[in-house]
C-alpha cells in the first residue's frame, strides 16, 4: 500500500540506482547543522533548568517563540527607519529586544508559576508547565496583531547566501544561517566557560548537586534558579530572533515543536551537560534533514523520526551521551 511504496521509493532515492549526487547530501547536512545549532541553543535552557530544579520546562519552547515575536515587535514598532536600513544597527537592537522579552517571560514564569510549587509533588510543576505553555502561546495569538497567521520576519543580517559548487552541483548557505550557527556555538562555549570558571557558575553546579547543602554553604538557591532562567531565556530569545531572520517567517506553533526537539537534544546529550546539549542538537538537526531525504515517508515524516530517536534514547540510554548515571532522576 501507500506506505510500502513510499518506503521503497525513498530508499532507492538515497541508496539505489537513482541515488542523488553528493551535493544534495551536503546541502542537507548543512541545513541540518544550521537547524541543529538552533536546537542546541534552546536545549541549553532545558538542560540547565532540568539540571537544577528537575523540571521539564515545557514552556521553554514558548520562551523561544516569544523571543521571536519580541524581536519582530522591536523591529516593527521601536526601530526608526534609518536604523532598520543598516543591519549592523538593526541586528543588535532586535536581538536585545527579543532577548529582553524572553528573559522577562522566563523570570515571570519562574516567580509566579514554578516557585510556589518548589516542594510540591513532581506532577504539579510539570502540569503547570503545560499550562504556562498553552497560556503563552495563546497570549501571543490573541494579543499580538495579526498573529493568528504566520508573520513575515524582516531580514536583519546580510541578505543573500554563500554558494559554492561541489560534486557536480551548487550548495547554498544563507548568511543568516551562518550567523545562527556561529552565534549558537559561541554562546554555548561562553556558557561552558561561565559555568566552569565563574563564582556564580560554581554556585549553579553546587545547587544542581544538592540544593540544601548549597544553601548551607551560603549560596542563595533562589538567586541561582532565577539566574538559570535568565540565561536560558536570553539564549532562547536570541535563538528566536536569529531563527526568524533565517526563515523570514514566524508563527505561534514554532515554540512547541522546536521545544520538544530541543528537549530531545538535551536528553540525547545527557541532561545537565552543556556540551551534550549542543552535540545532541546538531545530531537532531541532521536526523531531521537527512531523515526527510532518505527515510520512508520523506519530509512529511521527518518529525516522526525525531520522536522515534527520543523514545529510543529515553528507553535505552536515558543518561544520554554525556550524562552521569546518578544524575538521572526520572
Amino acid at each position: 500500500m501507500g506506505l510500502l511504496e513510499s518506503f521503497s521509493t525513498q530508499l532507492t532515492q538515497c541508496f539505489g540506482s537513482t541515488s542523488p549526487p553528493v551535493f544534495v547530501f551536503l546541502q542537507q547536512i548543512i541545513n541540518g547543522l544550521v537547524l541543529g545549532s538552533l536546537i542546541g541553543l534552546i536545549a541549553l535552557g532545558y538542560t540547565m533548568v532540568y539540571g537544577i530544579i528537575q523540571l521539564i520546562n515545557f514552556a521553554h519552547g514558548e520562551v523561544f517563540m516569544v523571543g521571536a515575536y519580541g524581536g519582530l515587535a522591536t523591529f516593527t514598532y521601536l526601530l526608526p527607519t534609518f536604523a532598520a536600513r543598516e543591519w549592523y544597527i538593526a541586528l543588535p537592537l532586535v536581538l536585545l529586544g527579543g532577548a529582553l522579552i524572553s528573559v522577562l517571560v522566563a523570570v515571570a514564569m519562574e516567580r509566579f508559576a514554578y516557585r510556589p510549587l518548589r516542594n510540591a509533588p513532581r506532577l504539579a510543576p510539570l502540569i503547570t508547565a503545560l499550562g504556562v505553555s498553552v497560556a503563552l502561546q495563546e497570549a501571543v495569538r490573541v494579543f499580538y496583531p495579526n498573529a493568528t497567521a504566520a508573520l513575515p520576519f524582516p531580514n536583519i543580517f546580510v541578505p543573500g547566501s554563500l554558494s559554492f559548487s561541489v560534486g557536480g552541483g551548487d550548495i547554498a548557505i544563507k548568511y543568516s544561517g551562518i550567523l545562527l550557527l556561529v552565534v549558537s556555538l559561541v554562546l554555548a562555549i561562553a556558557l561552558q566557560i561561565f559555568v566552569d570558571g565563574s563564582r556564580m557558575g560554581r554556585a549553579m553546579r553546587a545547587t544542581a548537586q544538592d540544593r540544601d547543602v548549597a544553601r548551607l554553604m551560603g549560596i542563595n538557591p533562589d538567586r541561582v534558579i532565577v539566574l538559570t532562567f535568565v540565561i536560558g531565556g536570553a539564549l532562547a530569545g536570541i535563538g528566536g530572533v536569529l531563527y526568524g531572520g533565517y526563515l523570514n517567517n514566524i508563527n505561534i506553533d514554532m515554540g512547541f515543536q522546536t521545544g520538544i526537539f530541543a528537549f530531545t537534544a538535551a536528553v540525547l546529550g545527557g541532561i545537565g551537560s552543556i556540551r551534550g546539549a549542543v552535540i545532541g542538537g546538531l545530531l537532531i538537526g541532521l536526523v531531521k534533514s537527512l531523515g526527510g531525504q532518505c527515510l520512508p515517508g520523506g519530509t512529511a515524516y521527518d518529525y516522526v523520526w525525531i520522536f522515534v530517536v527520543l523514545i529510543v534514547v529515553l528507553v535505552f540510554r536515558p543518561q544520554g551521551f554525556f550524562g552521569e548515571t546518578e544524575r538521572v532522576r526520572a
Binding site: 500500500m1 501507500g2 506506505l3 528537575q54 521539564i56 508559576a113 510556589p116 510549587l117 516542594n119 510540591a120 509533588p121 513532581r122 506532577l123 504539579a124 510543576p125 510539570l126 502540569i127 503547570t128 503545560l130 499550562g131 504556562v132 505553555s133 498553552v134 497560556a135 503563552l136 502561546q137 495563546e138 497570549a139 490573541v142 512547541f256 520538544i260 528537549f263 536528553v267 515517508g297 512529511a300 515524516y301 518529525y303 516522526v304 520522536f307 522515534v308 527520543l310 523514545i311 529515553l314 528507553v315 535505552f316 536515558p318 532522576r329 526520572a330
Partner: protein, 595 residues
C-alpha cells in the same frame, strides 16, 4: 456514584463553638445579625430595581432588566428570581434561631449574591456601553446590580465577622422506605438542576450573545445554593444516606441520568453536547486508571481515542475507508477496544525502563507520532487532511440512532438513542473502574503510584501491572472512540492533537485524580464551558492555560479529592489542616462510589 461534594477541606479543626473573632472585622461582631439581614434585604431590593436603562441590543437579555417595580411587581424571572430566593433565604437563615452554622450558610449565600450581581452588572456595563449603563443614564436610574452587590458584600461580612462555625454532622436515621424515597427525590431534584443549568441561556453562538452571561449567572446562583446546603451539613448527610444504600443509589442515579431527555434539555442540540461530554468522560476515566491510580503520567492519551475512532471508521462501511467490510456496531466496539489496547501495551512498554517525567515525554512522543501519521494518511487508513467522512450511524433492528423516536405519546429528539448508549457506556466504564480500584490489581496500582520500589519489595510484579494499566486505560478510550466515530460521522486527525490530551489530563486533575465522579465532573466542566461561552472562544485556550496553572497552585487535589491522593498532595500546601476524622465516611462515599 454520589454527587455529594467533599467536606470543606479548608475548615479549620476547631472546637464546636465559634472561635473569638479577631482582626478588623471584630468590631462588627455584635451586629452580625443586623448585617446579615440587611444584606439579604438589599439583595431582594436590588432584584426589584431596574438594572439597565435601556434594552440591550434589542434582545431578551437582561430579561426585563428595565422593569419598573410599580408596573409589574411580581414579574420577576431569571437572575432576579435567583436573587430574590437567595436574599430571602439569607434573611430566614439569619432570623430563625434553630439553624446551625448560620455564618457558614450566609457566607455561601452571600457569595452567590455577589456572583450574580457582578456577572450581570459587568455584562450590562461592558455590552451596554460603559458604567453609565449600571448607574444612571438618560434621566433614569439603574443601579440594581450595585444594590445587590452591596447586599452580597454585607451578607459575607456579617457571616464571617463573628467567626465561622464548623459544618454540622447529622446522624438522623429514617426508616428504609423513607430514605429510599428521599434519595429518589434528591436525585430528581439534581436532574432538574442539571437540566436547568445546562439549558440556561439557551444555545450559545452568534444568534444568542447572552448565553454565556445567563449561564454563568445561573451557575453562580446554583453554586451559592449548593454551598449553603453543604454548609448546613445536609449534603453531607444525604451523602451518608446514599452510601448506606449504595447499590440502590447507583440504580436510581442511572435511571435519572437516562431521564434527561424528558426534561428541558431534551433537544437534539443538548443530546449532542451530552453525548460529547460522555465520550470525553469515558476517556477521562480510562486516563484516570493510568494517571490517577497507577500514577503514570500520559501526555499522548487522546491517541487511543483516535485509534478507536479510526478503527471503527474503517470498519463502518464508509465510502472512504480502505477496509471494505461493514461489521455490526458491538463487534466494531470490541475490535476498536482490542486494537487500542494493543497500542496501549506498546506505548506502555517503555514503563519497564522509564519513570516519571521521562515517561511523560515518551508518551507525548507516541502521541505526536500518531497525529503525524494520521495527518499523512498512513497506509490510507486515516484519510489524512480529508478525514473519513460519512460514517453511517449506528442502527439496530432498522432503527437508525440518528433519527428521532416516538415512544407512545412522547416525542424524543434525534440523538436520544446515542445519549442512552453513551450513558450506559459511561456507567459500564465507571463500573469497571470502581471494581478495578478496589481489586487486588487496583491496590497494586495505588502501591506503585505511592512508591514503586516499595511496591516491588512487597512482591508486586510492577512491570506487567504497569503495562496492564496502559492496556486497560487504552481499551476504555478505544470503546469511546468507536462511539465517537459513529456519533460525529466524521473522524479527522485534527480531533486528536496534543491539546486534547492536555484537556483530558486537565479534566482528570480538575475533578480529582483517582476518583470516578472527579473524572466525569472534570470532563463535564471542561466541555460544557466552551460550548456555553462561545463569545469568549478567542480567549478559551488562554483562560484554559491560566486555569491549569491556578488549579495546580491552589487546589491540586481537584474538586472531588481522593483520600490517599489528598493526603499526598495537600501535605506540603501551606495552611492545609490535617483531615478531619468526622469527614471520613463521606470521603468513602465520594471516592468509592460507582460499584
Amino acid at each position: 456514584m454520589t454527587t455529594t461534594p467533599s467536606p470543606d477541606t479548608t475548615s479549620p479543626a476547631e472546637p464546636l463553638s465559634p472561635p473569638p473573632p479577631a482582626g478588623r472585622l471584630a468590631a462588627l461582631a455584635p451586629r452580625v445579625t443586623l448585617l446579615r439581614v440587611a444584606g439579604g434585604a438589599l439583595a431582594v431590593i436590588g432584584a426589584l430595581l431596574p438594572w439597565a436603562t435601556f434594552v440591550l441590543n434589542e434582545g431578551p437579555y437582561p430579561e426585563k432588566s428595565t422593569l419598573q417595580f410599580f408596573v409589574a411587581p411580581l414579574a420577576v424571572t431569571g437572575f432576579r428570581l435567583h436573587l430574590v430566593v437567595l436574599g430571602l433565604a439569607t434573611i430566614v437563615v439569619s432570623l430563625v434561631p434553630a439553624v446551625p452554622a448560620k455564618g457558614r450558610i450566609v457566607r455561601a449565600l452571600g457569595w452567590g449574591i455577589i456572583a450574580i450581581a457582578v456577572l450581570n452588572g459587568a455584562y450590562i456595563a461592558v455590552e451596554g456601553g460603559g458604567v453609565g449603563a449600571i448607574t444612571a443614564a438618560g434621566g433614569s436610574v439603574a443601579f440594581g446590580s450595585l444594590v445587590a452587590l452591596a447586599g452580597g458584600v454585607l451578607a459575607v461580612l456579617g457571616a464571617t465577622a463573628a467567626g465561622l462555625e464548623p459544618v454540622p454532622t447529622w446522624t438522623w436515621r429514617l426508616p428504609t422506605w423513607a430514605e429510599w424515597l428521599l434519595l429518589v427525590v434528591v436525585y430528581i431534584l439534581l436532574l432538574l438542576v442539571v437540566a436547568a443549568v445546562l439549558t440556561s441561556g439557551g444555545q450559545g453562538g452568534v444568534v444568542n450573545p447572552y448565553a454565556g452571561a445567563v449561564f454563568l449567572s445561573t451557575l453562580g446562583a446554583v453554586g451559592g445554593a449548593l454551598g449553603a446546603l453543604h454548609a448546613s451539613g445536609l449534603l453531607g448527610w444525604v451523602g451518608v444516606v446514599s452510601e448506606r444504600h449504595r447499590v440502590y443509589s447507583v440504580i436510581v442515579l442511572l435511571a435519572v441520568a437516562l431521564a434527561l431527555p424528558l426534561t428541558g434539555a431534551g433537544t437534539e442540540y443538548w443530546m449532542t453536547v451530552a453525548a460529547n461530554i460522555g465520550v470525553y468522560a469515558a476517556t477521562a476515566i480510562g486516563l484516570n486508571i493510568v494517571v490517577g491510580l497507577a500514577g503514570l503520567l500520559d501526555l499522548g492519551y487522546v491517541a487511543f481515542l483516535g485509534i478507536g475512532a479510526f478503527v471503527a471508521a474503517n470498519l463502518s462501511g464508509a465510502a472512504a475507508s480502505q477496509v471494505g467490510i461493514e461489521l455490526p456496531f458491538p463487534v466494531v466496539m470490541v475490535i476498536s477496544a482490542v486494537i487500542a489496547g494493543i497500542f496501549g501495551a506498546i506505548v506502555g512498554s517503555p514503563t519497564l525502563r522509564v519513570r516519571g517525567d521521562y515517561l511523560a515525554i515518551v508518551t507525548l512522543a507516541f502521541g505526536e507520532i500518531f497525529v503525524r501519521s494520521a495527518q499523512n494518511n498512513i497506509g490510507g487508513l486515516t484519510g489524512g487532511a480529508n478525514a473519513i467522512p460519512n460514517i453511517p450511524p449506528v442502527s439496530v433492528l432498522g432503527t437508525s440512532f440518528a433519527d428521532p423516536i416516538t415512544v407512545g405519546p412522547i416525542q424524543l429528539p434525534s440523538g436520544v438513542l446515542y445519549y442512552v448508549l453513551i450513558v450506559l457506556l459511561v456507567a459500564a466504564v465507571m463500573l469497571v473502574f470502581g471494581n478495578l480500584k478496589n481489586s487486588r490489581l487496583g491496590r497494586a496500582w495505588i502501591a506503585i503510584r505511592e512508591d514503586e520500589d516499595a511496591a516491588r519489595a512487597m512482591g508486586i510484579r510492577t512491570g506487567p501491572i504497569k503495562i496492564l494499566a496502559f492496556l486497560i486505560g487504552a481499551m476504555l478510550a478505544g470503546l469511546a472512540g468507536a462511539f465517537f466515530a459513529h456519533k460525529t460521522a466524521v473522524v479527522a486527525y485534527d480531533s486528536f492533537r496534543f491539546l486534547e490530551s492536555v484537556t483530558l489530563l486537565a479534566a482528570v486533575i480538575l475533578g480529582g485524580m483517582g476518583t470516578i465522579p472527579g473524572a466525569v465532573l472534570g470532563a463535564s466542566i471542561l466541555f460544557v464551558l466552551p460550548e456555553k461561552l462561545r463569545e469568549f472562544s478567542d480567549y478559551r485556550l488562554l483562560l484554559f492555560g491560566i486555569a491549569l496553572i491556578l488549579i495546580m497552585r491552589f487546589r491540586p487535589q481537584g474538586l472531588v479529592p481522593d483520600r490517599h491522593r489528598r493526603a499526598e498532595l495537600a501535605a506540603d500546601a501551606p495552611g492545609a489542616p490535617p483531615p478531619l476524622p468526622a469527614t471520613a465516611p463521606v470521603q468513602t462515599a465520594a471516592a468509592g462510589g460507582g460499584s
